[in-house]
């Protein structure tokens, strides 16, 4: 029974890495937001499972927060923003999708190489779960730097947070306070970003970063 429990947790962690790759693969805005909703869903399921096997009921609250806020509220809000701002619906990556995914594989290999020797004392599955969590963070960062679109950068930022949640719940005993404060700060950051997006859109009629770059100020 124990082994199955660890296997399922491992499967959720790996599934999150898979969904992070799916995020890198998307080339349409609505697909991106839906995939992010799936990302948040997988995280909340993983946290719920951890709550079950660690017998830590406060993690259920974390899971429901993740589910409610990140899998339902934020994607719906983002869908509305996209429609309201009339943002261009295709996402253009800086380099091709193939190269981005190749870089993603390299990042996963890097996190495995970093994590596995460090955590030599822990069990195999826990070590791999930590390696997967680090890869989710790195893949989120990769998404932020390889897309030209501000909305996709926001989503990348939020997927980084999902990876951190995965890492924190994987180890036993993360208090709820930390989670609430982290979620609160993310929410605040999101509101601020949303306000900025509105202002940017009003001012410059676009949220494409390349176009915004020209208005930056002093030119070399």
């Amino acid at each position: 029974m124990d082994q199955i429990a660890l296997d399922v947790a491992h499967l959720f962690a790996g599934g999150l890495v898979l969904v992070s790759f799916m995020l890198l693969y998307q080339d349409r805005m609505s697909g991106l937001v839906n995939t992010f909703a799936l990302h948040a869903l997988v995280v909340s399921l993983s946290v719920a499972w951890q709550a079950y096997i660690q017998h830590a009921p406060h993690l259920y609250i974390t899971a429901s927060i993740a589910l409610l806020v990140k899998a339902i509220v934020i994607p719906t809000a983002l869908h509305r923003i996209i429609v309201r701002l009339g943002i261009h619906r295709t996402i253009e990556p800086v380099v091709g999708v193939g190269q981005t995914m190749l870089a993603g594989i390299g990042l996963v290999a890097l996190s495995i190489m970093v994590m596995l020797p460090i955590t030599a004392a822990a069990g195999t599955l826990a070590r791999e779960d930590l390696a997967f969590a680090l890869s989710v963070v790195l893949l989120g960062l990769l998404m932020m730097i390889s897309r030209r679109n501000a909305v996709s950068q926001v989503i990348g930022f939020m997927s980084i947070e999902n990876g951190l949640i995965l890492a924190a719940t994987g180890a036993k005993g993360m208090p709820l306070v930390v989670e609430i404060s982290v979620a609160f700060s993310i929410l605040v950051a999101l509101i601020v970003i949303g306000v900025f997006l509105f202002r940017i859109r009003e001012r410059f009629e676009t949220v494409d970063i390349h176009e915004l770059h020209e208005h930056r100020g002093e030119q070399p």
Partner: protein, 318 residues
Amino acid sequence: MAVILGLLVQLCQMLIVLALAPLLTGYVRKVKAHLLRRQGPPVLQPYRDLLRLVRKEAVVAASASWVFRAAPYLVFGTTWVAAALVPTFATGLLFSYAADVIAIVALLGSARFMLALAGLDVGTSFGGIGSSREMMIASLAEPAMLMAVFTLSLLAGSTQLSSIAASLQGPETGLRISLALALVALVMVAIAENARIPIDNPATHLELTMVHEAMILEYSGRHLALIEAASYLKLLLYLSIISCVFFPWGVAVSGQGFEAYLVGAGMYVVKLAGGGLVLAVFETAIAKMRVFRVPDFLGAALMLGFLAALLLFVSQVK
């Protein structure tokens, strides 16, 4: 005596595979039609199609060579052999040790090689389009399939499909992330190789959406029948591989006796029906991709397969 029995069972499998293949395609078409609120053609229609085509005269272009006329037989032969080597109702059949899963992938590659050559043989632009796109798709789909297959072989400690199926049936495997990644990669490759939506549309004859159909545009009569039969067999082959590796419950082991074989055969038909249903639902729910999005799709499959193998290498599985 045991050898003769084993030979008979193996021949039985070959005939079952050949008999079920058109039925599977007919069933998938029927389900798709019902999902689109149509009646659709009868489930046995592919048999009637094959029979009709086989009796017709074959019209061959004046500029075609013996490659054009021999390719259908070779394509059918290699695909049939490959399909016969995949365990369906029982593993460990007599000839299953002649070729392992790498050889099966290579046999499908042979079939594709001959078909691509046949596309170029008549010297029209349609054939060229089909061949060049098919080889582009294959250049990514075949490595992706090989990486997924490597993952399975590393897990099972063998490249024999029978051994892989047997070991994945056992209790030590459990749920492994590499298996999930390999399944996703294999499903993506299966869609690409069988020319289903979103890679290619099997029901269309428009140049913009053709890959497989463009290569066989010049074929007619018995040649076309053989090529259609080969594509039915290929779909059956991929569904058989996926079901025998990832859903191995109910498969008999060679020598277990007639009842075990019957149970295995029944389970096999159920798995095929389930796989066909999922395929039909998936094809109806999704739109076809642009041709140059296909390399991204297959590149993703290759990456997933590679990641699955990498994870196994790293976790020191022998």
